[in-house]
Symmetry: C2
Subunit: 209 residues, 2 copies
């Protein structure tokens, strides 16, 4: 029989405004095999943010200790604050068979892939650039300057799409969640994510050589 399968580390990137957040929330809500990774940060909690839900809030000292003992899947420093992904939580979830989702931009995504070669990299895109702009404008929360900055950033990020395993085109939410689930589950069936199963099959077959 097939062995108990280990989870996959899933890295989700994509344009701001592509709907990553909603997509992942819906995915975790609909299927029970996913866990969202929670980041560690040295920045202060904002009103309403809860320790261990939005982030693990730690001191700079604790963060640097965690770096020193290789306790992070990846980390980065923005605006004088550290942000990173604690390895222990991720590995515990993976061992329990959960597919762990990590939202992160491209540089971080590539670092994760280096450390976890079986990580699955997904890039979320709207069906068109026009639709992206429409969504950013439609939010009604951002100034024209911020929107233009995000579109410019999208244009830069688009350079790296080929580094990802799959693109996820977020046209209609529920359909997109179904597709995303299907492709993550398919990723479980690649030979390099089934080394143990294949090795066992080979050993069994050797009896007939």
């Amino acid at each position: 029989m097939r062995m108990k399968r280990k989870g996959i580390l899933i890295v989700v990137s994509g344009f701001s405004g592509a709907g990553k957040g909603t997509l992942m929330k819906q995915l975790v809500h609909v299927y029970d095999n996913y866990a969202l990774s929670i980041s560690m940060t040295t920045r202060s909690p904002r009103p309403g943010e809860v320790e261990g839900r939005e982030y693990f809030f730690v001191s700079r000292e604790t963060f640097e200790e965690t770096i020193a003992k290789d306790g992070l899947v990846e980390y980065a420093c923005y605006c004088d604050n550290y942000y990173g992904t604690p390895k222990e939580y991720v590995e515990r979830q993976l061992d329990q068979g959960k597919d762990v989702i990590l939202e992160i931009e491209i540089q971080g995504a590539l670092k994760v892939k280096e450390k976890f070669p079986t990580a699955l990299l997904l890039f979320v895109m709207p069906p068109s650039a026009g639709e992206l702009k429409k969504r950013l404008v439609g939010r009604g929360t951002e100034s024209i300057e911020v929107i233009e900055k995000r579109l410019k950033r999208a244009s830069e990020e688009a350079e790296g799409i080929e580094k990802y395993d799959y693109i996820v085109i977020n046209d209609q939410l529920n359909e997109c969640v179904l597709r995303m689930h299907a492709l993550i589950q398919s990723a479980h069936d690649t030979p390099f994510r089934n080394e143990e199963f294949i090795e066992n099959m080979r050993k069994e077959l050797e009896a007939y050589r």
Copy 2:
């Protein structure tokens, strides 16, 4: 909007007795986006075989002409007869958006991948070697010698599994058909099978640079 998508060339290999034939027949029966490739051969039709259904039956001269004008996706020579995959039929189906399925052993599969880098290679396996033997014995049509030969062959073929994109574990037929369909459809979402869509997105986004 997303463009009309081209089909994927799917190469299916796997152990004799893993149930490839039944699996593919069921897949084509249940979903309408698949076409089975039909091989060309120089061997004579057997009773009940129909031209253009089991094979295209041609003369050695015609076959060699087809080789000369690069008209085959791949070909091989067994027992003094040629067997090959006519390129024209495959390309016409792909252009119409059909996913074309080709059943072929590993050497042929790798040749196809060289010529069609976007081909998807699937390796069909039973859930265990014991199950494989059980199925071969259960057919009741083969002698012990033939069964042992097939198991020996399976042991050799198992060496090449890592060359494939996915393994397909055929435990329960209908479930396996669903999984196979899901993973083929997921393969449509890789960046290198969506170059045109990505290029268009980049061009559109450039306006915001």
